[in-house]
């Protein structure tokens, strides 16, 4: 077997590594280089300006405003999504209590699972357009429902007081389904005996979730946390399509700022790259932090 190893390694390792270098690593390196220039994107001239872009960034109120929104998203989207995801997954896997024949999910679990997973099948663009119509201030689903009940309705995406929360709701809505499935899969790996024992001890469903399921699923929750944190730091597609950062920058996020600086209202590619570099480090630190903070003893079933 010894002499057959190298060709195998080379054929399987070199192409992906090369692809990774060309399409992932090199653009990153390039962004770092461009962020220290005043490149305007439509000629080959770029003058090095050192850290001037980063200095300008520090004083840019619009960037800070976008960052503030990202921080709120970072604080809320993962928590809401994971809590909802865990709740739904638990109900689907072990919520049923009627049958008393052991541990089962609620009735119609398969249907719920499909419904929850539905947003995952749709492209993000379709989700954004769909919700833009749901939020239509005159004939949208939400407005009509409220009017039907005789209640006044806000203008949703048209009002800085509500627009941000509307977008946040869509972010949670479109992500929950995936985590229901992810947590559901992780739960099915937990031996049934544990739950049966818990059931015999007479624990409520909430105690079961908090004291048994959550600790056993900790690894998965942690992965979910990192994914969702990275998503919350981005949030670009939904925001760009639904509000493009408006009204009055109330839904602006750092990704939209970067895009707008390079391709939107300006062509400052150097400055946009500087925003990108900042985003890179933010995402990196958030990922590292959440992995560190969440570190716990791993449980192995034998």
């Amino acid at each position: 077997m010894k002499h057959g190893k190298w060709p195998l390694i080379v054929t399987f390792l070199v192409p992906p590594v090369l692809l990774y270098l060309v399409f992932v690593v090199s653009p990153y390196l390039q962004a770092f280089q461009i962020s220290t220039t005043d490149w305007l994107g439509y000629s080959a001239d770029a003058n090095p300006v050192g850290l001037a872009n980063f200095k300008a960034l520090w004083h840019d109120d619009y960037v800070w405003n976008a960052l503030k929104n990202n921080v709120i998203l970072l604080a809320l989207v993962p928590v809401l999504t994971i809590v909802l995801g865990l709740f739904f997954a638990t109900m689907l896997a072990l919520g049923g209590r009627k049958g008393s024949a052991g541990v089962t999910g609620v009735r119609g679990g398969a249907l719920y699972r499909t419904v929850y997973f539905f947003p995952q099948v749709l492209s993000v663009v379709i989700i954004a357009l769909l919700w833009k119509e749901v939020y239509h201030p005159n004939k949208g689903l939400l407005t009509s429902a409220l009017h039907g009940l005789g209640l006044p309705s806000p203008t949703w995406l048209g009002d800085p007081a509500t627009a941000f929360w509307c977008v946040l709701a869509v972010m949670v809505w479109s992500n929950v389904g995936f985590y229901v499935v992810l947590f559901g899969a992780a739960m099915s790996a937990v031996p049934k005996e544990i739950y049966e024992a818990v059931l015999l001890d007479g624990a409520s469903r909430f105690t079961t979730l908090r004291r048994v399921t959550l600790p056993l699923l900790w690894d998965t929750v942690q992965v979910a946390w990192v994914y969702l944190a990275i998503f919350a730091l981005d949030g670009f597609i939904l925001v760009q399509l639904m509000t493009n950062g408006g009204p009055n920058f109330s839904t602006d996020v750092i990704g939209v700022r970067m895009y707008d600086t390079a391709f939107g209202s300006e062509t400052k590619f150097g400055y946009a790259s500087a925003i990108g570099v900042v985003m890179f480090f933010l995402t990196l630190s958030v990922a590292v932090l959440s992995l560190r903070i969440g570190r716990r003893e791993r449980i192995e079933y034998s």
Partner: protein, 471 residues
């Protein structure tokens, strides 16, 4: 051999690949510069061929696939190849001009003709400050293709050259002629016995009447509220004269807070205060608000003359959309009621590094021929900058009201260009301020303050090239 060896060796392989990555990292900004000596096509100039087109040189045309479609461009291309049968034309159409063409500009191999339009438009400030555009003066001096005895410049409507000029250099051909005004349905007004008000007090009185009839007087594109900055600035210019616009364009200190702007903002605040705007408008985009207007839910809307073709699919038969100038504030106005904002729009450009610059200019000459312009007006129902080219063409109702309004406005017509000079100022900053103002969250003073703050931030940004225009 163990696992660790493999890891170590693949790390070494990674190191080997790093210099290659380093080379790659140079290419986003590195290329291009030295490709200047690549072959460019130049023929000999003659009376028949004033621009020196090389007759067999290929020509590449990129069209913005927006409201006008691309059929009109194919017709222009056919006219070009009729004159130069040996030339091969490469035609393409995209909605994402900026994303599609940016690498080619950097690489130094841009197409020969670009219709730089739409929301994916490349910011002109960036293009001009990087000298990426070819000058069009030679085109202006060339004789018109089919209007005898006139140069191309002589055939253009007034203002067509100015709007495409940066620091006095003509760089961008804006092909269509657009009027910006307030639109209403002649059918609705006739049916109800209303008539369009010529001054502001009457306008407010009319709004009251309309509201009493159960229709919202106004609606606007709440998600793109800059549409409402157009009638507001127009009102100010009619009050204070064209210098109001020059001051804004030239980023003069406190230009947004001039007396005329103050008076105009105070006046427009009335329609917000008195709740003359359709409920929910702040949450509508341009299509949604225009559709609400076409459905008769609102009486007035602010838009440019592209409105009719944009709404073609949803406009009821006999709706008869009609453009009108903004109402005068009073007898003290420097410009008469008829004065309307008219400007050349739909920008076309020839990149400086295009290989067939002469061909690009000749293509423009074809577009600006009477035949080319008439064909465009017929195909897309929009006016061109070629004077008199719509004569004899049957125009749809809305466009015929635009022609009438422009005729009545005549030499009193006005325009501003800060949106071309500093795209960000209109698209982001003034836009956001308009959103706050017309939804009633801020008053006129704060509105002008926010606009001024935006203009000041552009003025102070040393990385943005500044342009001046003469009064």
């Amino acid at each position: 051999m163990n696992r660790r060896d493999i890891l170590r060796r693949s790390a070494a392989a990674g190191l080997l690949a790093t210099p290659a990555a380093g080379l790659l990292s140079g290419c986003a900004t590195g290329g291009g510069g030295d490709k200047n000596d690549a072959e460019t096509y130049q023929g000999t100039k003659s009376a028949q061929n004033p621009l020196g087109v090389k007759e067999d040189a290929p020509l590449e045309v990129v069209i913005f696939g927006g409201g006008f479609g691309e059929e009109y461009a194919k017709a222009h291309e056919a006219m070009y190849t009729e004159k130069y049968p040996k030339a091969k034309i490469k035609h393409s159409s995209t909605q994402e001009i900026s994303k599609t063409l940016q690498p080619r500009f950097v690489d130094g191999t841009p197409p020969d003709v670009v219709n730089n339009s739409g929301s994916g438009q490349i910011d002109f400030n960036g293009l001009v400050s990087q000298n990426a555009l070819a000058g069009l003066d030679e085109l202006l001096a060339a004789p018109s293709l089919d209007i005898p005895g006139k140069t191309v410049k002589d055939t253009l409507l007034p203002g067509a050259v100015e709007v495409g000029s940066y620091d006095g250099k003509f760089l961008v051909l804006n092909y269509t002629y657009t009027a910006y005004g307030i639109w209403h349905s002649a059918k609705l007004f006739a049916h109800r016995g209303w008539s369009y008000a010529k001054n502001w007090d009457e306008h407010i009185a009319l709004c009251k009447q309309i509201k009493a009839a159960g229709i919202a007087p106004w609606t606007y594109a709440g998600l793109h509220p800059r549409y409402m900055s157009w009638p507001l600035i127009s009102t100010a210019i009619k009050l204070g004269g064209p210098s109001v616009a020059t001051a804004i364009d030239n980023l003069e200190p406190n230009a947004w807070k001039s007396d005329s702007m103050r008076t105009a903002a105070d006046a427009w605040h009335q329609i917000v205060k008195d709740k003359f705007i359709l409920d929910g408008s702040p949450g509508l985009d341009h299509k949604q608000s225009q559709t609400a207007w076409c459905q008769g839910k609102a009486a007035f809307i602010s838009c440019g003359s592209w409105l009719e073709s944009e709404q073609k699919d949803v406009t009821p038969a006999g709706f008869n959309m009609t453009i009108a100038p903004t109402p005068s504030l009073g007898s003290g106005d420097k410009l008469p009621f008829e004065a309307i904002r008219g400007t050349a729009g739909e920008p076309f450009m020839v990149p400086a590094k295009a290989r067939n610059v002469a061909g690009g200019l000749e293509y423009f000459r074809t577009m600006l021929s009477k035949k080319g312009a008439q064909d465009f007006t017929k195909k897309v129902a929009s006016l061109t900058v070629v004077a008199g080219a719509s004569e004899g063409v049957e125009l749809p109702y809305g466009l015929s009201t635009v022609v009438k309004a422009l005729d009545a406005s005549g030499a009193n017509g006005f325009n501003w260009v800060y949106n071309n000079f500093y795209r960000k100022l209109e698209r982001n900053l003034v836009d956001a301020a308009c959103g706050e103002f017309f939804s009633g969250r801020i008053g006129p003073a704060e509105f002008l303050e926010q606009c001024q703050k935006g203009a000041d931030s552009i003025a102070q940004d040393s990385s943005i090239k500044k342009y001046k225009r003469a009064a």
